[in-house]
Subunit: 456 residues, 2 copies
């Protein structure tokens, strides 16, 4: 079979365009309605996507005046979606800075069991002082410290998920013996950030543990991904940048002693689709016309850590912005926005228009054929193993993608036509089920007769 | 309408009898299978129960050799059950000692929205060093300190749930204004245990906040219940004890400035039902025959904080047990067990037999008529507002209760025959929706003409 595209549906409110909620078709309460997300999940499943994904941060972002604010907690929402779907993977964002390993490992184990092995965890360290102040801190921890904590968090979580061997349950009714205590392995972890005795109170799950996903592209983020991540979401504006990122991450993963094919790279794309290119561009223009620019300026000033009032709508960004190394928040997003503005010599107004669509992800307006071409070209030219599909407007943008782009990808042999038998999320992404760290691999028995080589 | 019984289905693994998993009918993996709980929830809904409930502790209890161990995380499981049911309330246990208010308040708000106002929180402080050691502590915090933290946790959670006024969302597409920032109220809480800036990132929910449930009967527990709880689960062995507890809690609630009718008292009952009394007793005997007594001795020694080997199976408890005040763990459970053993002069073996059935809750074997009589008598004689139904074997015990006891309670006018329109959990329990603490009550307008008195 041809190498297959991995598609992930990034679900967000009424769409990734910040003004999408103002369109006549949009429900401004959709982001806190289960039915909205059930509908989206089922569309994605009709499109035989590998997975769907919810971003998150444990704080209320800025002013509620601007756009639909708040969100259902992702693990809670995904659990409800698990029962409304059958095949699609379910990836929830959760923070290593503002959770405890025991509780979070248990929630993901529970979701993995309830969904039949479809849980994924987008691991974030959570930038910003707003979140920190909801958890007893005055300011956000330094970037490097957040990543150090994340690494220790993962080590503990992996120990917890492996604390039951797969065959720890005996269930011998006659003798009254339910489990085998010798196959239970408490982590007994004592480290810099955590002390966790364990074991977890959930048996090992269908996937062993959730698919591990990561999305930060800073130096710390890439080092973390190379060590732990099995799928990476990334924002890339050009195929050259995407190729460089792809090659870099694969080689870092190999250097970390892992199979580079066991980390899947998925750039984000905001497809704005029309039956002609002109129709697609007109659709994009309607969205841009609904942007409230005064909001955009404030948001941009916050991102760039500038004093309020520093930016002018019809001027370019100031020349004296600090380097990424001085930023303790979302480093890779900072650099991406600054580089985008400088490369295309955008005014603040133009930059806000671009960001309003995809917050730094690649926005692409065109016909279904053009969108499919773009996807195929990145996929076959070493820039992507798949895509994070981020419709500007939801549900209509996802519907259009599934009805018009997916059939083309199927015809080209890049995407399955149906799911087939139920599989785990990790199997969908072509990854092996991880072995339990407490179980020694079984030595292969001596062959009793010569084995013919298998030709692949 | 006659005063109505409140029924809660306490769902636990293959049943509340510790040996239930060994019966031929029982699935020893049931406790980690969604389908098992979906089936139970639907049986309870067929019986028009007000709610169902999951107990919990963030640790693996003792040896996995003894009985099905571990559990799906309750909020995760209840979210899945929310989509499989329509009317029944969903009460999850969560610990104030091992969660942060922001995350937990958000999860309950999300469940309340997803379930259409059916979320309830059984607030526990979590006894035991095992749990403490999963969260960075060497030993469990002292009992009084756990309750002090719980009270501050509740104050913060209530502020978070009230941080959006009910009408904070404007959704004005034309002007591009989504929310009203003046109706968002960050808690800005700084206290002994928590600093939480807020606001919550979830709008106010159908119930305002989840039904608040509590189950500790120690002095600290009762004081806490009088201040916060809207429903209380309790273990009582005799109607006299239950009446005393009921009267005490109602009067404490009144003394705390609350309406005593706004706290519902639900003792636990383990009904073992047979078509004749002899059949019920025989069923009870089968369960007792499956108990592994060597496990029971170890468990009892742990509960009573005795050295291993101190108890003898065919002797009574030692006379020199410490007073409740010396116990830092589950105080009220300790006293209940010791009093039960002394009152009925039980040997350790007999005590284990009694506890195996309901862990200190009232076990009652009889015909459906006798079970209904028991319930009616406690309900009408000031001992209960309803019951926490704890079948010894699941699902069969719940099935039997719903098929044979529920019809009798309905005939007697004590229990609704059908749910009628969808209601919130708090409405099912006859409780008002709480006002938002930031909204002043509207002064009633001067009547423009005389209002006739309403006769009820």
């Amino acid at each position: 079979m041809t190498r297959q595209l991995h598609l992930n549906a990034f679900l967000m409110n009424t769409g990734h365009h910040e003004a999408s909620w103002r369109l006549p078709e949009s429900d401004p309460y959709a982001h806190v309605e289960l039915d909205h997300y059930v509908r989206l999940a089922r569309i994605a499943e009709r499109g035989t996507f590998d997975s769907l994904f919810l971003a998150d941060g444990p704080q209320l972002w800025g002013s509620v005046g601007q756009r639909p604010a708040g969100a259902l907690e992702p693990l809670t929402l995904l659990t409800a979606l698990a029962t409304a779907t059958e095949h699609i993977g379910l990836i929830a964002t959760a923070s290593t800075s503002y959770n405890s390993p025991y509780n979070l490992a248990r929630k993901f184990a529970s979701l993995d069991i309830i969904s039949g092995g479809r849980a994924g965890w987008n691991i974030v360290t959570t930038a910003g002082a707003e979140a920190a102040r909801n958890f007893g801190l005055d300011a956000e921890p330094a970037h490097a410290q957040r990543y150090a904590r994340a690494a220790e968090f993962l080590d503990v979580a992996l120990k917890l998920w492996d604390s039951w061997e797969d065959d720890a349950i005996v269930a011998d009714k006659a003798s009254g013996v339910w489990g085998d205590d010798t196959k239970i392995h408490p982590p007994r972890h004592t480290g810099t950030y955590f002390s966790v005795e364990g074991p977890l109170n959930v048996p090992r799950t269908p996937q062993g543990y959730p698919l591990l996903v990561q999305a930060g592209s800073s130096e710390n983020g890439k080092a973390f991904a190379a060590r732990y991540a099995e799928a990476v979401f990334t924002a890339q504006q050009t195929i050259e940048d995407a190729q460089a990122f792809y090659a870099d991450l694969k080689s870092r993963t190999a250097a970390a002693g892992r199979d580079p094919d066991h980390i899947k790279v998925l750039p984000g794309i905001v497809p704005v689709i029309g039956s002609t290119e002109a129709e697609a561009l007109a659709h994009e223009q309607v969205l841009e016309d609904h942007i409230v620019y005064t909001h955009g300026v404030g948001n941009l000033e916050r991102l760039l850590q500038l004093e309020p009032g520093r930016l002018e709508l019809d001027a370019q960004l100031p020349a004296d912005l600090p380097p990424e190394s001085a930023i303790e928040g979302a480093k890779s997003r900072y650099t991406l926005v600054v580089e985008l503005a400088r490369r295309d010599r955008l005014t603040v107004r133009q930059l806000i228009g671009r960001l309003g669509g995809g917050r730094g992800h690649l926005t692409f307006a065109g016909t279904p054929e053009q969108v499919a071409d773009k996807i195929e070209s990145w996929f076959t030219r070493g820039a992507a193993d798949g895509f994070n599909i981020m419709p500007a407007v939801l549900p209509s943008g996802l519907d259009t993608f599934v009805d018009h782009v997916v059939p083309i990808l199927r015809t080209r042999g890049l995407l399955r036509g149906e799911y087939g038998p139920r599989r785990t999320l990790r199997e969908r992404y072509g990854l092996p089920r991880p072995a339990n760290q407490h179980v020694k691999p079984v030595e292969p028995a001596e062959p009793t007769e010569p084995v013919a080589p298998v030709l692949v």
